[in-house]
């Protein structure tokens, strides 16, 4: 580790500051990246810090070169490519570390600082929450402070305050411009921060299959699925069934969405109790949308399948806002074509024999399908337990195992076994998945539906009634339906003892406030897309927005804002306006100057008065009055407002010429 150039040129404290800033900005990435990336980065930064601190020689160039090649190779081996969100960010982080290691001149320090600004942006590819925004703002501040310290040049290194305070002022001055750019910058359709390939990766949600028994612990995710703003009152909890994928195909274990499902018009023989609402759907990467049973309108670009599942043409990659009308009191699907009927009754007779036998037995005992349904609900109600940690169902007959042995499960278990029992009893049935309930934020009257509110229920087809919703889970745990998942299990995602201590509801209010804030953030910051922009600008009275007009507006307003800030800065440094007495005194001097009695700049008021009196005895009285008042104002106890007016008046009326 010895080379020719000693690093005396770079100030060690400036370098340390830069290294700290780099660690700060990369820190959120370290948890997301493979461990070796974080280790490599921290090691390189520590190495560079050691070199700077002990004023050691820089690493040899070929060592740096080999490390750089190794980092690039490692990235390629990890991801199989060097581009895309994850691979690209990893590469950028590794190369930033290498840049720090080889940094010798102040020009390279400048480059590293600007690399830091790019690293700030990469964080937004992963998270766009408010805390991340604040954290990244802090990062920008620190990097600007680094820049400030660096620009100081030679001499005593800047203190923390000498870096942070000017940097903070710079940021504050940039703030108006930032707002203008945000509001006016022409938008493209699509989300603000997303790379096309990676946007769908790792987003959880509903899937298009359901296999009860292969999950032993359902993780209660606090993540928001969507938010709903209702026009008017929010319907009662037991009506809040948000319909998602409808699963028809059954293979003895899993329920799947059917491939064939023609589109249908939304016409119902009976459609009453309409509710209007707006859904803000978080991106989930799939095609389906959610609506209360039964949807009455279709958002643009969305079609309805014959089982009332809403599908958009493009996958929901970005937060989507749509308006809906649904009818809570409805009847649909009274005519069931033979093909669908056969499909809704299909099951393998060689699997789950005891379940099938029970269904057939109930059908034989009760000719009326409604009685069969009642019998089944009664069966669930009497013997089963609702739990999110059910035993695994590992036999070839999972529904037999559940219904007759384990008897513990959650909505998937009940919906799946219920639907199978119905099919065995000759009643056409299918599984509907979606979300049920949610949480009402009392602060903004918004319904927050979380991933934990995901639910599965059953629809059975009855002669003369069409498809009827049956929720077997409600037979087991009525609370789950009436008050939501929190009532059935207690609040989720929060330490239970905290909840118990929170009698005044401070904690839950904080949570609601935070959620309301997030909702605004999503709608107005992250969701500020081309439509919102148009809507907002129209409200401001700016119409006809093609991108050319927008660009003109952007340029004009930016110029105006920058101009205003500069004007303010200039005006701040201008000498203050003289006090009234001084202005009067100057005017008095000007008048006398015209009469040939100019005051010398260093001449005191009394000396001036003496000179004026000697030269112009006719002015002695008035000059004395004026000088007396001026001296009182300037060097004495000051003048009251009327006295100051009197001085101004006397000067105005003073006629020496």
């Amino acid at each position: 580790m010895s080379a020719a150039i000693p690093n005396a040129a770079l100030d060690a404290r400036g370098v340390m500051w830069l290294l700290g800033a780099m660690l700060f900005v990369v820190a959120p990435h370290l948890a997301r990246m493979p461990e070796w990336v974080g280790a490599f980065f921290v090691l390189m930064v520590a190495w560079r810090g050691w070199v700077a601190w002990r004023a050691l020689h820089f690493p040899l160039r070929w060592v740096v070169f080999l490390l750089t090649v190794a980092a690039a190779a490692g990235t390629f081996l990890q991801y199989g490519r060097l581009f895309g969100r994850d691979a690209g960010t990893t590469l950028l982080i590794l190369m930033a570390a290498m840049k720090l290691v080889e940094m010798r001149t102040s020009r390279e320090v400048l480059l590293a600082i600007h690399l830091g600004f790019v690293l700030v942006m990469t964080n937004f590819l992963y998270s766009q929450t408010i805390p991340m925004g604040i954290y990244m703002l802090a990062c920008v501040w620190i990097f600007v402070a680094t820049l400030v310290g660096y620009q100081r040049g030679m001499g005593r290194p800047a203190t923390v305050a000498e870096r942070l305070v000017p940097a903070g002022k710079l940021l504050a001055q940039a703030l108006p411009l930032m707002v203008v750019l945000f509001v006016l910058f022409p938008r493209v359709t699509g989300p603000l921060w997303a790379l096309p390939q990676d946007a769908r990766a790792g987003i959880s949600g509903l899937s298009d299959t359901m296999t009860p028994g292969n999950i032993s612990k359902l993780i209660q995710s606090e993540a928001t699925a969507f938010r709903v703003e209702f026009e008017g009152d929010i319907p009662a909890y037991q009506w809040l069934y948000f319909r998602g994928p409808v699963l028809w195909a059954f293979d003895g274990r899993s329920w799947r969405m059917s491939e064939f499902s023609p589109a249908a018009a939304l016409e119902y023989p009976k459609s009453e109790r309409p509710v209007k609402y707006t859904v803000t759907l978080e991106p989930h990467g799939k095609h389906w949308l959610f609506a209360l049973d039964v949807p009455g309108t279709l958002p643009p670009g969305v079609s309805a399948r014959h089982d009332l599942q809403l599908r958009s043409v493009r996958p929901v990659d970005a937060r989507l806002r749509y308006e809906m009308t649904s009818y809570l009191d409805y009847r649909f699907g009274e005519k069931l074509p033979a093909g669908f009927r056969e499909f809704a009754l299909r099951f393998n007779t060689w699997q789950n024999p005891r379940t099938i036998a029970l269904g057939r037995q109930w059908a034989a005992e009760n000719p009326d399908p409604r009685r069969v349904i009642g019998r089944a609900l009664q069966y669930f109600n009497s013997q089963f337990t609702y739990t999110l940690e059910p035993p695994l169902l590992e036999s070839d007959d999972p529904y037999d195992e559940f219904l007759f042995d384990k008897k513990r499960g959650f909505c998937e278990h009940y919906a799946g076994s219920f639907a199978l029992l119905m099919r065995a009893a000759g009643i056409p049935s299918r599984i509907v998945t979606g979300y049920q309930g949610g949480e009402i934020n009392p602060l903004n009257r918004e319904l927050i539906v979380r991933q934990a509110d995901a639910h599965a229920w059953v629809e059975v087809w009855l002669e003369g009634e069409g498809w009827v919703r049956i929720d077997p889970t409600s037979a087991v745990s009525p609370n789950r339906i009436d008050s939501g998942i929190n009532a059935a299990l207690g609040p989720i995602g929060v330490i239970p003892s905290l909840i118990a201590a929170d009698r005044l509801g401070i904690l839950s209010n904080l949570r609601f406030a935070w959620d309301a804030l997030n909702s605004q953030w999503n709608q107005w910051v992250l969701g500020y897309n081309i439509d919102r922009q148009r809507q907002f600008l129209t409200r401001l009275g700016i119409d006809a927005l093609d991108w050319m007009t927008l660009a003109l507006w952007l340029g004009g307003v930016s110029f105006a804002v920058a101009g205003l800030v500069s004007l303010w800065l200039v005006a701040r440094d201008l000498p203050r306006r003289d006090p009234p007495a001084v202005r009067a005194w100057k005017r008095y001097g000007d008048k006398l100057a015209q009469a040939g009695l100019a005051r010398a700049p260093h001449e005191g008021p009394l000396d001036y008065l003496a000179r004026v009196r000697a030269a112009r005895p006719d002015l002695a009285q008035e000059a004395g009055e004026i000088t007396e008042r001026y001296v009182q104002a300037r060097y004495g106890k000051g003048l009251t407002a009327p006295e100051a007016k009197e001085l101004a008046r006397r000067v105005r009326d003073f006629r020496p010429a």
């Binding site: 700049p601 260093h602 004395g624 060097y635």
Partner: protein
């Protein structure tokens, strides 16, 4: 009220001192006033002039008129600090050392021809001026109050002088030049009786307690922000202008302000005006300023330049 205040000051004891002193030192009313302002501002005075223009007479007249006791020390090249401070002498009767105070234990000291003494003797007096106390043989003794030193020195270019270093010059609030009397005053001087004979007939116009009360009132004279602006502009000019080798110190700025307050009080004003600053400025900064460069103008000339160079804000 601020302007024509002097008319109401006939009964002012300071005016009384000025008019009586003017009968002894003819034609030097301005210098007498400055010397009084210097005393009121609790500063020490340095008079620089050729011998025989009345330096000693002025200091003796002030001492008598102010009702203070007076000592004169003639500085010579062989003067020792003990000659100024005093010395302990063994007394046979009591078998103890007894301190015999030197001439410095008086209210007004005339230090004649201070630049003829060695720096050692000079510094003994200058320390007493600064501390208002002397330390002799391990014992600290306070000097009487008020304590006021009038030092005289011959112009620097005379033979056999030890010029006072700048740090010690800085301890004098003012430096005055008496100058030759004008023709009218000189005629009167030549015609009249011996000045020194008049001195014993002078009656005190004021006593020490009243003088100290007046001294205490000086810092109460009002100083407005505008006036401080002016003082700061003056000081800043000496620091920025290339015409001066060295700018005025903060202590000098403070001295200007104190002297101006004393001057304003003598004018019967409760507030300081720029004219007050201008009146005392040459005396206060003259010995602290030195011109730079070939055509260096020192002392009073530099102070006069300063006055005209700085506009009153």
């Amino acid at each position: 009220m601020l302007i024509d205040a002097r008319a109401r000051l006939a009964a002012n004891p300071v005016e009384d001192v000025v008019s009586r002193a003017s009968r002894v030192i003819l034609g030097k009313e301005g210098q007498i006033r400055l010397a009084l302002a210097c005393i009121l501002a609790r500063g020490h005075l340095l008079i620089e002039d050729v011998p025989g223009v009345g330096k000693t007479t002025l200091s003796q007249a002030l001492a008598r008129l102010l009702g203070l006791d007076y000592q004169r020390i003639q500085f010579t090249s062989d003067l020792l600090p003990a000659d100024i401070i005093g010395v302990s002498i063994f007394e046979r009767e009591s078998s103890t050392f007894r301190f015999h105070p030197g001439p410095v234990f008086a209210q007004i000291i005339l230090a004649d021809e201070i630049n003829r003494a060695s720096p050692k003797a000079q510094s003994a007096l200058l320390e007493a001026m600064e501390e208002h106390q002397v330390t002799a043989e391990g014992e600290t003794r306070a000097l009487p109050e008020p304590f006021f030193v009038i030092a005289t020195q011959n112009p620097q270019n005379q033979v056999g002088t030890f010029p006072l270093p700048e740090s010690q010059l800085d301890r004098f609030l003012m430096r005055l030049k008496l100058g030759y009397p004008d023709a009218k005053a000189e005629r009167e001087l030549l015609r009249g009786e011996e000045r020194r004979d008049i001195l014993p007939t002078l009656e005190p116009a004021i006593d020490a307690p009243r003088l100290m009360a007046l001294q205490a009132a000086v810092p109460q004279v009002g100083v407005s922000d505008a006036l401080l602006d002016y003082v700061q502009a003056l000081v800043a000019h000496t620091r920025q202008s290339p015409k001066y080798a060295q700018g005025l110190s903060p202590r000098a700025g403070l001295a200007v302000l104190r002297a101006a307050q004393a001057w304003a009080m003598m004018q019967g004003r409760t507030q300081v005006l720029p004219e007050d600053v201008q009146a005392i400025l040459p005396a206060v900064v003259g010995h602290r300023l030195h011109g730079a460069g070939e055509s260096a103008r020192g002392g009073f000339d530099a102070a006069a330049d300063l006055l005209t160079a700085v506009a009153i804000p």
